[in-house]
Structures are given as C-alpha cells and as structure tokens.
Amino acid sequence: MSAGAGTGKRALAAAAALLLVLGAALPARGRELSRYEETVTLAADGSARVRVLLEPRPGAAAPVLIPVRSAILRDVRAKGAGSPAPRSVARGNGQFLEIVLPPAPEAGAAGTIEVTYAMDGYFKAGGRPGPFGNRRLDYRFVSVSFAAIDRFSASLVLPQGWVFNAIGRFVPAPEKEGMVAPFTIVRAGQRLAGRIGLSGLGLGDEVALSCTVRHGRRSPWLIFLLAALAAAYLVFFRDVLRGKGA
C-alpha cells in the first residue's frame, strides 16, 4: 500500500472517530444556522485575524463548535445575542472554539453572533519560499456540530500586494463536467480575496481549499531580456524580408 493511501485511510479513520466522539457528546440534533460566514484576513508575516458570523435559526440553547487551526489564539471575543463566552476546546485531533447559542423560540430572535480572534502562523510565511516564490495556503472547515448551514461562505483576504498563484484541491469537487468549484477571486479594497460560497451544508460536510499564494510583483529582468531578443531579431533577421533566414 502506498504511503499516500495509508495517510488517507488514517485521516478518514480519525475523522470518523471524531464524528463518533462528537456525536456522543452533542445533543441528538445540533443547532441549524441560516448563515455561517468566515473572513480570514491574512498578514504578510503569516498571521491572521479571523471573524466568524453565525446566524442561528430558532431552537433550544445548544453548544456549538467552530473549527480553528490552533489552540493558541489571541483576542478571542464574541459579540451578539446572549454574549456567549467562547472557550478553546480540543476534540479528537481537532481544535475548536466552543460557544453556547442562546435559545431562540422564533425566527430572528437569536440575532447574529460575531466571534473574532487572531492567530499566528495561519500560513508559513517565514523561511525560503517554494519555487517561484510560492507559499502554500490551506483552508478547511468541517461541520461537526451544526445540523445544517443554509448559506456558507468563507473569504481568504490576502496581504496587500499578494496574489493567488494557483488553485489546487477544492472540496467538495464539482460533481459533473462543466460545473466549477464555487470559488471566486474578488478585489477587497486594495487586496485580493478568495471567496467560497456554498449552500446546504450538513453535519460532517467538509469545505477545503488548497492553493499557492505569493507576492504579486514580477521581476522586471524578463522585460529587458525579451526586449533585447526582439531587437536582436529585427537586426539580425532582416534577410527574412528577402525570403531567407527563419
């Protein structure tokens, strides 16, 4: 068996175990959200400020888990209905911010809850970059405690002057030929942002993006080189006009 296949199976087993643990720990049916919106604003040093907006649907009070990438978070805050206090918890291999959504007997009663935090090392900015100055940037969200999310969106706002170089893996993959991954690159002021938009996520659904990013400035040496080449061609290949040469 290949190493890749082995790793994949282990990851699958870990995810299944995590879901089992969570399934046992949580109420039989989790809370439903009409909106989950995550904005990750990245800095050139690899740190990030993250803002998560939750718009719960009516339901009883319920603890929910927001996936985070690290146990070490700064400036963790929550605003909105019930002012729930977030706390960092670990479940299986995953790190989460746990908050308790207040009870909302009718539509709109719960309001919007905003959770913000900052963290270092969201992507590896230090050390030598990869070929062509590329750095890898990953995003992953697994719905572990929301029974349903009507509208899901995540935005990765790049540091100013940075660009998305290439988009690698996207989950969920388009089902059919002709369908495209729901990922768009938009301008957010002076910055570029990659926006993921999905609807109808259920418990256990995964959203993941793997891409490379880099500083958008291109070295000007190619301009001089190619301009010199073009000039040399015009000089040394004049005989083309007489039907000779190239």
Partner: protein, 519 residues
C-alpha cells in the same frame, strides 16, 4: 524513323514524370516541407517575432485582474505569444510549440509533469498509429490505385474532384465519430490527387490549397451534422440535458443542423476556388500530359490488385470496422475498443514479421507534427486548468452588456458568434464546450429565453474548428503536408466561420423556428 524515336522518348519521359509525381515516397510527411513565403508572409514573419514578445510582456506584466490567478495570467501570456508565432511563423510551428511548453514551465503557468505528460495523450498516440496505417496505403500503392480510380471517375475537372471529396467526407462523418482517423484515411488519396493536379509540398498550387482546405472544412464541419459526429457534440448535449433538463434526440440534431452544414459546404465548395483561393485555368485540369487517358493507362499498368494491397486493405478495413462499430463493442467483447487501441492493433499487424507489410523505417511519421500538437494541447489544457479560459470567456459575456430586455436575436447572434469565433483560441473542442456551454445556458436562464433556443444552435458550432492548424487534429494532420499556409487556413476558416454565423442566424429565424427550437 527519327520522329518515331522522338515520340517514344517523349512518351517515356512523360511516363517517368508521372511515376515521379505519383511516387509518394518522394513526398515524405516526416520531412518538414519548405514553403516559399510571399511578401505579406515575409513581413508577418519579420514583425511577428517582436509582436509575440510584446503581447506576452503586456499580458504577463499587466496588473492581475480580479478573478484570475497569477498562473492563469502566465498561461494567457504564453498562449498569446504562441498564437502570434503560430500565425506569423517567425520560427517553425513545432519550435513555437516547444517554446510554449518551456515558457509554461518557466513562468509557473503549468507544472513540468503535466506539460511533458501531454506527449503521452491518446490524441498523440492516435496520430502516430494513424500515420503508420496511412504508410501502408502509400507503400503498397493502394492509395495510388484508389486515387487514380477516383480521378478517372470524377477528376475530369477540379470542381468535380473537389465535390467528390466533399461527398466522401459527408459519407464518412456519420460512420466514424473521430475526425483524426477520417483525416488520415483520406490523406494519401488527397496527396495523390493533388500531385496529379500539379500540387506537391515543394510546389503547391491553388488546387492543392483548395483541396486540403475544403477537406479540412469537410472533416470538421460535417461532424456537426450528426450528434455522434464527435465526442464534443455528445458532451454539449449532456451539459444541456443536465444543466437545463431539456432533452435532445439524435434526429432533432440531424434535422436541424445537417441542412445548415450542407448549405455551408456547398457554398464553400462553389466560392472557395472562385473567391478565396482562385484557381488558375491551368490548375483546373490534371497536369499529366495526355490527361485522363494517361492516368487510365497508368492504372492499367498497375495491373491487378497485388497481395500486399489486399493485405493493406484488410488491415485498414479491420481498423475502420472497429472504429465504425464502437457502440457494439460492449455487447461483443465486454469492453469498448477505443479508436487509439483499434489503430494500434492495426499498426501491430502492419509491423509483424512475415505477416505485416512495412518495417519501422518505412513508416512515415511526421514527428515535428507530434511536437506541434503536444505544444498546442499543453497550451490549451493549461488555459483550462488555470481557469484562464473560463475567466476570459466569462469576462467577454459580462462586457457585451447583455441584460434583461435585450432582444432575443441580438443575444442569439452574440452567442453564436462568440461560440463560433472562440474556436480560434482553443485547441480542444471538448474543453471549449465544457467552458462555453454552461455560460450560454446561464445567459439563457438569466434572460428568460428558452435554453434550447440558444444552447442548441451554440452546440451546432462545436465542430467548426477551422481557422488555424492548432484548432483540431485533422487541421494539424493536413497542415503537415505543406499544401497550405497558416494564412490560407485563416482566410478560408475565418470566411467560412463568418458564413456559418450568417447561415445559423438565418436558420434560427426560419428553419429552427419551424422546428420549434427558436421562438
């Protein structure tokens, strides 16, 4: 006595000249043909080099637009450079392809593994195997025999000869769904016929240019007359059905589009040699001294069909049989024999010691063509893979200012024209369909028009890949003969594409409306 000797000498010289003319071993495809460029082509060569570089630098260094990745921008720049150079030919086309492959890797447009992997694609294998099969027709003189028969029956003048090939392509289109095999099957015949009309790769004339370009049109455009004419047609239909829920039957497609295709090809046949590439009076008849009678004698001189010719016909027949019967393979064998594997089976028999017909050194495989194709495919696939093609097409539709309230026929013409001309920038029909069709369906749905009214006529343009040698496999195969230039191809392709838009628009307002496709 002296006169009789002189007469015999002249007849012998004429016979020797004819033998030379029909000896296809002297016109090997593996050798890159040297063409003499005219004044316009020389200027294009000279200015094309800096122009390509200027276009590359402009795109590569422009501020990155929203929606596009940096690798997509690099691919766009590299492809634009290659497109300019393929058209202007400051360097040979295969060299441009190699430069494109290198540029894609060096600018981080596409990774080396994928770029190099293109040479292993089934399309390249199909080309190699098809050229092996084509070689046995040439080696055994079966191609010469078939071509002589064709000319003796239809070749009294150029017009009839060109029409005979159009009819041949029309007959093959519904039988063989892959365009490259059709191109390779007809190629040896075309080479012999062109030679008889005085057009060889080192001395091309108007007949050769018209013959090859009309066959290029025929092999591609006739595919759009039938839903099964190409894989891309089937993908277009499956996209229409899955994204809009509309159902299209084989006969719906054929009744609607076959008349359009026939009218277009007849117009191209009639006006091509009269307006696009004019035939001189001396190019309208075979250049053989003694005319058709000499050719009849030549055919008689060949004698009865040889054992090797029969063997070649059997091998080729087996491959064609496998190509034609692909839809029954599952029932017969329990698996489907892909056109590449069918051609490979034929090539294997061809090379078998004692059983086969030719040895490896006798196979005429134009490797420069494979490199040209590989570069073109790498560029096209990189455009798709990086999202650059989708971004460009999406932007085009956004900038056309099509919105609610726009007249249906304005939208119809825009959609048809965009789909038709888009082929110039693509190297794969499949890729073009996958990118364009969902956009057309979305436009129809957003504007409240029946999806079929826009999507089906747009799908009819799928196989019109006729403007550049890079646009489709048959184009590359025919281009390898050196019988026409890129400029000739552009002239024919652009005019016929435009004609296609006009005919599809008229059909939309009349025939398609009668059939209930358009409102």
């Amino acid at each position: 006595m002296a006169e009789m000797t002189q007469g015999r000498d002249a007849a012998a010289a004429a016979q020797s000249g004819l033998d030379d003319l029909l000896d296809l071993d002297k016109h090997k495809l593996a050798q890159v043909p040297e063409r003499k460029a005219n004044a316009t082509e020389r200027w294009m060569k000279y200015l094309g080099f800096p122009l390509g570089i200027a276009v590359f630098l402009l795109i590569f260094y422009m501020p990155l637009p929203a929606g596009l990745t940096a690798s997509g921008q690099a691919v766009l720049a590299c492809f634009a450079l290659a497109l300019v150079w393929w058209v202007c030919e400051p360097v040979p086309t295969y060299l441009t392809s190699l430069i494109l492959m290198l540029a894609l890797v060096f600018t981080d447009g596409w990774d080396q593994e994928h770029v190099l992997g293109v040479l292993g694609f089934d399309v390249i294998w199909l080309n190699v195997m098809a050229f092996v099969l084509s070689s046995i027709l040439v080696k055994t003189a079966l191609a010469k025999r078939l071509a002589l028969n064709l000319i003796i029956r239809f070749g009294h003048n150029a017009s009839k000869m060109l029409l005979a090939f159009i009819v041949l392509q029309l007959c093959l289109a519904p039988l063989i769904p892959a365009t490259a095999p059709r191109a390779v099957m007809t190629l040896p015949l075309m080479l012999v016929v062109a030679a008889i009309y005085g057009s060889t790769s080192d001395k091309v004339n108007g007949f050769g240019r018209n013959l090859f370009l009309q066959n290029l049109l025929g092999v591609n455009i006739f595919s759009s007359g039938f839903m099964t004419g190409s894989t891309a047609n089937l993908i277009a239909i499956s996209l229409i059905m899955s994204l809009s829920g509309e159902k299209v039957f084989y006969t719906d497609w054929m009744f609607a589009n076959l008349p359009v295709v026939l009218v277009t090809m007849l117009l191209a046949w009639f006006f091509g040699p009269r307006l696009l590439i004019r035939l001189k009076p001396e190019e309208r008849r075979p250049v053989i001294p003694g005319g058709i009678e000499t050719l009849k004698r030549q055919l008689e001189r060949m004698g009865r069909i040889s054992f090797n010719e029969k063997k070649a016909a059997a091998i080729f027949g087996l491959v064609i049989f496998l190509w034609i019967t692909d839809r029954f393979h599952m029932a017969w064998f329990g698996f489907e024999i892909n056109p590449v594997m069918a051609a490979m089976a034929g090539a294997i028999i061809t090379f078998l010691p004692k059983v086969g017909i030719i040895k490896w050194n006798e196979a005429d495989i134009p490797w420069h063509l494979m490199l040209f194709s590989a570069g073109a495919y790498a560029g096209g696939l990189a455009l798709d893979n990086s999202g650059a093609a989708r971004w460009a097409i999406g932007n085009l539709f956004r900038h056309l200012d099509v919105g609610p309230g726009t007249n249906f026929w304005v939208v119809y013409v825009i959609v048809i024209a965009a789909n038709m001309y888009a082929h110039i920038f693509f190297t794969s029909k499949t890729m073009r369909v996958i990118i364009m069709m969902p956009i057309v369906i979305a436009v129809a749905q957003q504007l409240g028009f029946p999806v079929l009214a826009l999507a089906l006529p747009a799908a009819f343009t799928t196989d019109w890949v006729i403007t550049l040698p890079i646009n489709a496999k048959p184009n590359v195969i025919y281009f390898s003969t050196g019988q026409f230039s890129v400029l000739d191809n552009i002239k024919y392709g652009f005019v016929v594409s435009t004609l296609g838009i006009i005919i599809l628009t008229i059909a939309g307002m009349t025939w398609f409306r009668f059939l209930g496709i358009t409102p």
